[in-house]
Symmetry: C2
Subunit: 427 residues, 2 copies
């Protein structure tokens, strides 16, 4: 089976490396050799340097997409360029010509998976690498759990954010120091906003939710909050009360509706997913037959991602073709409506920085009760004669709109020092 790699960056080079080094076992499992014969690159000199280490016979490097795409001897194309528009164009062209494609591109799928599903009706299209890198979660959801109604998916899908939060929690680092440390180790980009803002996790959540629920939502349709505003105060509270703080990607079904949301959350330490630390990813899935199952592993990196890409290639060699999103009838509609953020129900943790003066707590709790927030716990540490103090509340289950309204009203009071902050508490 001859393949072309489109884009010879981190993952592209990883795929080449594993195909060459694990060739024997891959051939035994695939039933035939998987041979890289061409790569589409942007910089020929750089690419030549990159492939020098491998003894590749008859391997073409080209900067011309058409030249590679039109080659009839290539059986499968692996898209590892990244971005949305160009990959969309290349992959569409290929699928229309019934050429099998494998990609790791979550951004593309977050926006255009429905369109690609149509094109991939009769043509293999693998994207295992697009969610949670080395963890075969696409396959688990689409095939392993296919007998189940999926009740909930809770994922730690962004290693950068999990690394930062773990470091804040375990080493007491402030957010900006934990981010710096992640950047130094190559776990965070120079511009980290896509990861720490929750967008990367949201892309992956949308892909998983499509398989579980046949629902074609876009990133703009769902709640996305990042971890930028988590402070040492929040870490202190979490530690005191037996919580971990994680950036969670959640899909949760009720009778006729579905919650899709990405945000930091307080999670009891005893939960299996709360124990997932550092750059590792994990996805917990609740099915009506199996109950909870969890999938844990490396979420990114050249080799884990290559492992997923090549598993898709081996499936293609084995002539295994599942319906792309798990449903033969691509026109099927879930009938589920998305819950609006305002209507989300949750317990909340609230952190308020206020002047330490008489009557403040009464005013705060007054606003809360007027907005139907029922308080579950309250903490104010003894204040060694400073003018300001931090007060913490947790609420019973209540409506998000009411919490935001309360925080806005409280934020307008003179005794408030900085913007009130909330984190959802996940059951």
């Amino acid at each position: 089976m001859k393949i072309a790699i489109l884009g010879l960056g981190t993952v592209g080079k990883g795929v080449l490396d594993v195909l060459v080094n694990n060739q024997k076992i891959i051939t035994a499992r695939a039933g035939e050799q998987i041979i890289p014969v061409a790569a589409l690159v942007r910089d020929l000199a750089k690419a030549k340097e990159a492939i020098k280490a491998y003894d590749l016979a008859n391997f073409t490097l080209s900067t011309n997409a058409d030249e590679i795409l039109m080659r009839d001897d290539i059986d499968v194309f692996v898209e590892l360029i990244g971005g949305v528009d160009l990959p969309r164009e290349l992959i569409s062209t290929l699928l229309k010509r019934k050429k099998p494609v494998v990609t790791a591109n979550k951004a593309l799928l977050a926006y255009h998976r429905s369109e690609l599903e149509m094109l991939a009706k009769d043509t293999p299209f693998g994207f295992e690498a697009s969610v949670a890198g080395g963890i075969p979660i696409i396959k688990a959801l689409r095939e392993g759990l296919s007998a189940n109604h999926i009740e909930q998916i809770t994922g730690i899908l962004n290693g950068t954010s999990n690394y930062i939060l773990t470091n804040m929690m375990k080493d007491g680092l402030a957010f900006k120091d934990a981010l710096l440390s992640a950047q130094k180790l190559g776990y965070a980009e120079a511009d980290p906003s896509f990861d720490i803002g929750g967008f990367d996790a949201a892309h992956k959540l949308l892909i998983l939710a499509s398989i579980a629920y046949k629902l074609n939502a876009k990133p703009d349709d769902i709640l996305i909050e990042g971890i930028e505003n988590i402070s040492s105060d929040d870490i202190y509270f979490a530690q005191e009360f037996g919580y971990a703080i994680k950036l969670l990607a959640i899909a949760k079904k009720s009778a006729q509706s579905l919650e899709l949301r990405v945000h930091p959350a307080l999670l009891e330490h005893s939960k299996m997913i709360a124990k997932v630390d550092g750059v590792m990813n994990a996805v917990s899935v609740w099915g009506d037959c199996v109950g909870e199952s969890m999938y844990y592993g490396a979420g990114a990196g050249a080799k884990p991602t290559a492992s997923a890409v090549i598993s898709d290639l081996i499936d293609i060699a084995r002539k295994i073709k599942s319906p792309m999103l798990g449903y033969k009838d691509t026109s099927l509609q879930s009938g589920l409506s998305l819950v609006k953020s305002d209507d989300l129900m949750s317990k909340f943790y609230l952190r308020l920085r206020v002047h330490d003066e008489l009557g403040v707590i009464a005013k705060i709790t007054n606003i809360m009760s007027q907005n139907e927030l029922s308080i579950d716990s309250f903490l104010q540490k003894p204040n060694s004669s400073k003018a300001d103090t931090t007060v913490y509340f947790t609420t019973h289950t209540c409506k998000q709109a009411n919490v935001l309204k309360s925080l806005e009203l409280i934020g307008r009071e003179n005794f408030v020092v900085s913007k009130p902050f909330m984190i959802r508490i996940e059951k």
Copy 2:
């Protein structure tokens, strides 16, 4: 797609139940309806009672295997009788007739998977339910991780044992009380020896190892130890020193050889798999590309097992057929030799009950050093004037033969009160 269920017990009824109740979602995912049309049973009256709740049109109950097996209108047969000889006969007959089969039968596969692999060359044969119930670990190993050399598999594969050990650890129960509690809750059989003796876990380990390594070992070929002799003393030690005690099933590869072993082990609490408690199962897999990934979920029960059985049925409906054990060339040999138990290298924990008298420790450590056991730590608690005391050692990495020899020699000494006991410490 018409199916027959052979054996309408716990799992058989579970499969029927899920096929009926989740029919709509299963049809959407499979692309066609999966219709149970017949069951092979032993007691007709009991079976009639069991299926009364379902509105099954044209459903045949029969006590005659031939009658059902020879029916040409049945597309797939689901074997859920259990045992080895009868299922072997039935399944062989079916595969020879190129009839697809799905089974949950780990005992059958532990002994006869190689023979079945030949028969299933061109015919779908699913056995996802045979290992770790609801966790799609067969699929993960065979397809998801197919690009990897598997370096190690460590599994908690027996829920009964894990439940007992968890209760000893968390509630301070003695072994026999924890076993009683498991029996009361239906987590342990009246005769629990198959589970607590490690045999059930060994069957499952052999199945996983075949997929990872293409190695056809039998239960008699490998080290199997149970949890029957774990005492409160061991639990005390584990807790003091930050360990969990788990019944582990381990496959571990070195250059030319493979360790396959089932035994209780001390595991550092910080390890992900050490956090798996109660009846839950988990499998950690180390691949050379992905690093560690872990799969966690319900290991048994009617519905989780049915979930796995039906996922195999849906794969068959989708025309997905992987090579049964993951290798197209069924005659392939791993070339790995099994490490003999005597040659296993490990750290060990040793527990000795001895008379509290002068010179005892000197004699013990003397025997150890003569047998090349190097001591890593030693613990003897202050003894409030009792005649006997428990002493604990841990060793550096050493050869199992040397440990057993030392314990045998120490056991012969007059100062020893009860049989010396060891548990391996797993890194």
